[in-house]
Structures are given as structure tokens and as C-alpha cells.
């Protein structure tokens, strides 16, 4: 892939938009209008942007409790997402799901699930359907570093490899499961070995380098589309804010301020920003324009969410 094939500005815009959305959710959380848990992706933007920009119409994305950025990068509707967090009838699940169940057929967001690893076999099932229907689409499942500890990860990757399904497993390794470090949960080995053990092509790249993420995923998607089977991609990154909720929590004892500062210095957005400045693709004026454009979209989406009605229907669809 040549330098020109990477949509630098689009990737930057995606990351910037996700950052500003998440920070605004964080800022407004204490208003008590978003009455559900929120798992923010601040610091992890390169993965959602890099992976989702490489996806095509018809491809399906499956995500976890930490789904906001994935959904927005996949072309999700900010208004419907925020409306869901506000419990409104106009939300992407009509207020049934809250922040941990983002779904949007139009955007190719098959589902997101709050039970760790629960979504992984579902993505494999989507890939099975694609293979059966010969659509040449790809199913992509993004999950955290804890998900590989569940049996179902191994069951699903084994089957995907066996049937050479068009599925790409993306592990967003932010080193933590809630407050528990990877070293307290797994022996010290590269995570990509877990895929290799199941006969799956497994690769890794810097999860804070959006271009590297984009290149690796594009290549994995092309291979899957061409019938080359599944891949496991492991991207190391770091969550800046608390596991669940709006604030920083480096002071409560499970990680250090120093560790956070090391990762903050690798801010994926700042890195790309500097690159774009150097390439002459961004300057202070155009950057201010982007920020203003994003902030206006965010303000309008919050207004939409706040003004939308609460659902009142007692007619629930339990059966099809």
C-alpha cells in the first residue's frame, strides 16, 4: 500500500470526532441525564478509526461494552447514540439497551454486547452467513484483552479457522480489565500467540498509530474477502479515563500517574496531527475549522437527545 492510499485526513477526523464526543459525554455526565454506565475510549481512538475506515458497506461490526468509538467510526449516527444514552425513544435501541447495546442496521453495526467475549462467536456466525451467501463481506469483531480469557474466544477462533471464515478478530489491548492488569490475569506472552495456536494468522501493530492500524486491517480484510480466512490483529493501547464513568482514576491505586503519562505522550491524535502538519495537510486554520464543525455536530446531537421524548410504550417486542 502506498502512502497515497491511506486516507490520512479522514482517519484524523474520525479520531478527533471520537475524542471530542467522549470528552463531552464525560463533561455532561454529572448532569444526570445520561442515566446508564458509560465506557469511554479516550486514548484508544486510533483503533476504532483505523479499523472502521478500512471496512466497506456490507461489512458487519460487532463490539463490546466499550462501543461508542467503534460505532461512530463505522458511520454511526451520533444523534441516535446519544439519544440511547439519554434513555430516549429516538435512541438506536429505543431506550431498551443503554450505552452497552449499540445496534444500527444501516451503519452495519450488527450488535454490541456487555458480556465479555459474548460477541466473538456471534461475529463468527455473521461470517458464516457471509460465506454461505457468498457476499464477499467481512465480519469484524473488536474486543478487549480480557476477552481472550473466556473459553468462547477459543471455541470461536477454532471454528473460524476450521471453516476459513471471513472474520477479522481485533483485540484492543489496553492492558486492563477494569482495575486488574494483564499480568495479574495472563502469563506473559504475546497475545497474538493465542490466535496462532488455533491456526489463525496473527499480527500486531502499534495501536496508537492509526496508519499502522489501517494498513494492517485493510490487508486482513482483503485477504478475508478473497477467501483467505480469518486473522487476529492485536493492537496495544491505553485507556485514559476510568473503566466505567466520566473521570480520571489514576489516584485510586491500580495504576500509576507515571504509567498514564507515558501513554499520554503517545497520544494517537497528537501523533497524527503532527504528521499532517508536517505534510501540509493540516494547519491551525483548518484544524480550528474541524473542531468547530465537530463541536457543532455534538451540540446539535445533545440537543436532539435532550429534546427527544422518553419511551412510554409498554408494548415490547419479545418475539418476532
Amino acid at each position: 500500500m502506498s502512502q497515497d492510499d491511506v486516507p490520512q485526513e479522514g482517519l484524523f477526523f474520525d479520531m478527533l470526532r471520537n475524542r471530542r464526543v467522549e470528552l463531552e459525554i464525560s463533561r455532561r455526565y454529572e448532569d444526570g441525564e445520561m442515566r446508564c454506565p458509560v465506557h469511554l475510549s479516550v486514548g484508544q481512538e486510533a483503533i476504532s478509526a483505523g479499523v472502521c475506515r478500512a471496512m466497506k458497506v456490507g461489512d458487519q461490526l460487532v463490539s463490546t461494552h466499550r462501543a461508542h468509538a467503534h460505532y461512530l467510526s463505522k458511520g454511526g449516527d451520533l444523534k441516535r447514540m446519544l439519544a440511547e444514552f439519554h434513555g430516549k425513544a429516538t435512541g438506536c435501541c429505543g431506550g431498551r439497551g443503554g450505552s452497552m447495546h449499540i445496534f444500527d442496521r444501516d451503519a452495519g453495526m450488527l450488535l454490541s454486547l456487555p458480556i465479555v467475549a459474548s460477541s466473538i462467536p456471534v461475529a463468527v456466525g455473521a461470517a458464516l452467513a457471509m460465506k454461505q451467501a457468498q457476499t464477499h463481506s467481512v465480519a469484524v469483531v473488536i474486543f478487549g484483552d480480557a476477552a481472550v480469557e473466556e473459553g468462547v474466544f477459543h471455541e470461536a477462533t477454532n471454528f473460524a479457522a476450521l471453516k476459513q471464515l471471513p472474520v477479522v478478530f481485533v483485540c484492543e489491548n489496553n492492558l486492563f480489565s477494569v482495575y486488574t492488569h494483564l499480568n495479574d490475569r495472563q502469563p506473559d506472552l504475546p497475545l497474538q500467540r493465542l490466535g496462532a495456536a488455533h491456526g489463525i494468522r496473527s499480527l500486531t501493530a502499534d495501536g496508537n498509530d492509526v496508519e499502522a492500524v489501517y494498513r494492517l486491517t485493510t490487508e486482513a480484510f482483503e485477504r478475508a474477502r478473497a477467501g483467505g480466512g480469518p486473522s487476529l490483529l492485536v493492537f496495544d493501547t491505553y485507556r485514559w479515563l476510568e473503566h466505567c464513568g466520566p473521570g480520571y482514576d489514576n489516584d485510586i491505586g491500580y495504576r500509576t500517574e507515571e504509567e498514564f503519562q507515558v501513554w499520554k505522550a503517545r497520544d494517537p491524535i497528537e501523533r497524527t496531527r503532527q504528521k499532517l502538519f508536517a505534510l501540509g495537510l493540516l494547519d491551525e486554520g483548518s484544524e480550528a475549522g474541524l473542531n468547530a464543525q465537530i463541536d457543532q455536530e455534538i451540540a446539535e446531537a445533545f440537543d436532539f437527545a435532550l429534546e427527544s421524548p422518553l419511551p412510554t410504550s409498554s408494548e415490547f417486542q419479545i418475539y418476532a
Binding site: 439497551g97 452497552m100 419511551p311
Partner: protein, 355 residues
């Protein structure tokens, strides 16, 4: 006077001190939040051999717990939500519940599994279930649902000392309830009910968080001259309903209030047993209250109608005895005035999430 969360912590600490075969594991037991405060400080005091974090691997770790229990260890497992323990059902229902039976009484599984149940805020369908009947339906498991700080401590100690797998369903909104809890290491029985209020007009059987709702209803109805005989179910399996049979013989009226789904709920079993045993004593068809037949919605616009409330209990009493309806009006008015000041989706007005 301490909270149920502190009572659970104290019980665990005493069990870990009293018997070095006892150990505790789970996601979050050694982290800074300590499972809603119920395990705080224990890893520091007892060390990482006795109190430790696990991988996110519920079924595997439950099998590990069972294997160690067969070898004489006494594990306490903790899950932050019952929903996560669904992954562990295979081990619990197949191995945990059956090892004693299948080995003709030779093996014992002295395992305790603490499961946190019930509503949070906006948690939606996969983070707020109760699922008590999943466990209640399995012979070989013991299943308890403490509702008071006294029972939270005493039943946990009894569970750890019991030689069977004991499932403890702890409602998260009960963790904050304050009550009298003796300091010593006491046991509360793992079967039988607590009689919370005494009366001759109507028998009410409630479990877990629903006990709080039923108590509010019973106290307000008492002011209106209707006396409820109110039982906290406490123990789901084994289920000894002798005291309830006696009560219904006197009152002729029965209401059951579940924290979980009404359909196929605990109330169904209780009503069935009461009906089989003393149909002739019933003056009106029994009433079951519980969650309606759909999953927990996230939105505050939808949860109001979802949970059984004290008002629902008073109204049910009115349906059993329509002549009491005018008399019960003040009770309903009081409840409505109180509830108008409370958020519909949080345990108290100060609650700010995010869990």
C-alpha cells in the same frame, strides 16, 4: 449498626481467619473498589494466596473452585453480576450440584458463590437480572437470598461452613441497608423464613429487595387497620414453607412478591405448594407479584412500570379484599407522595452512577 456490605466483609474476614482452608477469588475481589466494598482490605490482610483476582473466565474458574473443594478447600467465589455467572452454569449445575449425589455421598463440594443481582442504573437487559429460579431449579444446590444485614453476615458464615455448594443472591440495592449486626462470628440458618411483621389479615411472602417494598406496604397498611403477616423468604433451597402454611391457615389470603420474573418465579412454587397443602383455607385466589414478562429496559422512561412496588402490594391486598380498598387509600397516598421525591431509577436521590 452497619451496612449489609460491611456485614458481608466482616463475615468473610471472620471465615478467612477461622479456617485456613477458606479462600476467596473473583474479578474485583482484590481491586480498589472491592466488589461494592464487600471485600475491601481482605487481600491485604490475608495475602494473594487466600484472596485473589481471577482471569475473566467464569466457567473455567468455577471448575477450578469445584476441583479444589473436592480436595477439601472451601472456596468463596464472587461475581459482580449474576449475568456473568451464566457462563459458569455448566460447572455449577452439572458438577457443583451433582458431585455428592453421583459419588453416592462420598464427595463434598463446600463452595460458596456470591452473585450480585438486580437493578443498577440504566444497566439494561444483561446487567440487572435476578435469575434466582435458574439456581432454584437445581437439586444439590443451596440457594439463599438474604435481605437484612444480620442475615447477610450470618448466612454467609453458615454457607462457608456448609458442606454443599451454596449460591448467595445479593441484591446490590440491599448492600447499603443499615441494620444491627453482632460482632461475633454467628450463624443464621440456611433454611426457613424471617417473620418481619405479624398479622392476621393477609400473608405476604417476599424475597430479596422485594422485602423492603413489602415492609413499607405492611407498615402503612397497619396504620389503616389491615395487619399483614409478612415473611422474608431468605432461603429458596431447601424450601421449608411450614410457617407459611400455618399463616395462610389463619389469614386465608396469600400474596407473594418476587424480585425476579413473575412467570415461573419463586411465587409460582410457593403458591403451588400452599394450594396443594391447604386449598381449603384460601378465601381468595393467591396473587403473585414480580417482574413483567420482558427483559429489563435501560431507559428511565420504561423502568417505572417494570419493578413491583409497595403500592403494588397494597393494591394487591385490595384485590384480595375489595371491602378494604377505601380503608387502604391513605397508604397509597403516602407511598405516592414519598415516591414522587425519589428517582425512579436510582436507590436514592444522591446517586450519580455510573454503575
Amino acid at each position: 449498626m452497619i451496612s449489609a456490605a460491611e456485614a458481608i466483609r466482616e463475615a468473610t474476614e471472620q471465615c478467612l481467619s477461622a479456617d485456613d482452608r477458606v479462600y476467596m477469588m473473583g474479578q474485583g475481589v482484590a481491586d480498589p473498589k472491592g466488589v461494592f466494598g464487600t471485600t475491601l482490605g481482605l487481600a491485604q490482610r490475608f495475602g494473594s494466596e487466600r484472596v485473589f483476582e481471577t482471569p475473566v473466565a467464569e466457567n473455567g474458574m468455577t471448575g477450578v473452585a469445584i476441583g479444589s473443594a473436592l480436595m477439601g478447600r472451601r472456596p468463596i467465589m464472587v461475581h459482580q453480576r449474576v449475568d456473568f455467572a451464566m457462563l459458569a452454569l455448566e460447572q455449577l449445575l452439572n458438577n457443583g450440584a451433582k458431585m455428592h449425589f453421583v459419588t453416592n455421598g462420598e464427595h463434598k463440594v463446600p463452595l460458596v458463590v456470591r452473585l450480585i443481582i438486580g437493578r443498577g442504573w440504566g444497566q439494561g437487559p444483561e446487567h440487572s437480572q435476578v435469575l434466582e429460579t435458574v439456581f432454584a431449579s437445581a437439586p444439590g444446590l443451596k440457594v439463599i437470598m438474604p435481605s437484612t444485614p444480620y442475615d447477610a453476615k450470618g448466612m454467609l458464615i453458615a454457607a462457608v461452613e456448609d458442606d454443599n455448594p451454596v449460591i448467595i443472591l445479593e441484591h446490590r440495592w440491599l448492600h447499603a441497608v443499615i441494620g444491627h449486626v453482632p460482632q461475633e462470628m454467628y450463624r443464621a440458618p440456611l433454611s426457613g423464613q424471617n417473620r418481619m411483621r405479624v398479622g392476621d389479615d393477609v400473608t405476604i411472602v417476599a424475597s430479596s429487595f422485594a422485602v423492603l417494598e413489602a415492609m413499607e406496604a405492611a407498615d402503612l397498611m397497619a396504620e389503616c387497620g389491615v395487619q399483614a403477616d409478612l415473611f422474608d423468604l431468605r432461603a429458596v433451597r431447601p424450601l421449608d414453607l411450614t410457617a407459611i402454611f400455618e399463616s395462610v391457615r389463619r389469614t386465608g389470603r396469600l400474596i407473594v412478591v418476587d424480585t425476579g420474573w413473575k412467570m415461573f418465579g419463586l411465587g409460582a412454587e410457593i403458591v403451588a405448594q400452599v394450594t396443594e397443602q391447604g386449598f381449603q383455607h384460601l378465601r381468595a385466589p393467591p396473587i403473585r407479584l414480580g417482574l413483567p414478562d420482558y427483559p429489563t429496559p435501560s431507559s428511565r422512561g420504561l423502568v417505572g412500570a417494570f419493578y413491583p412496588s409497595s403500592q403494588g402490594v397494597v393494591e394487591a391486598v385490595g384485590r384480595l379484599s375489595p371491602e378494604w380498598i377505601p380503608r387502604l387509600r391513605p397508604a397509597i397516598d403516602t407511598i405516592q407522595t414519598r415516591r414522587a421525591k425519589l428517582p425512579v431509577d436510582a436507590p436514592n436521590p444522591a446517586f450519580r452512577g455510573p454503575f
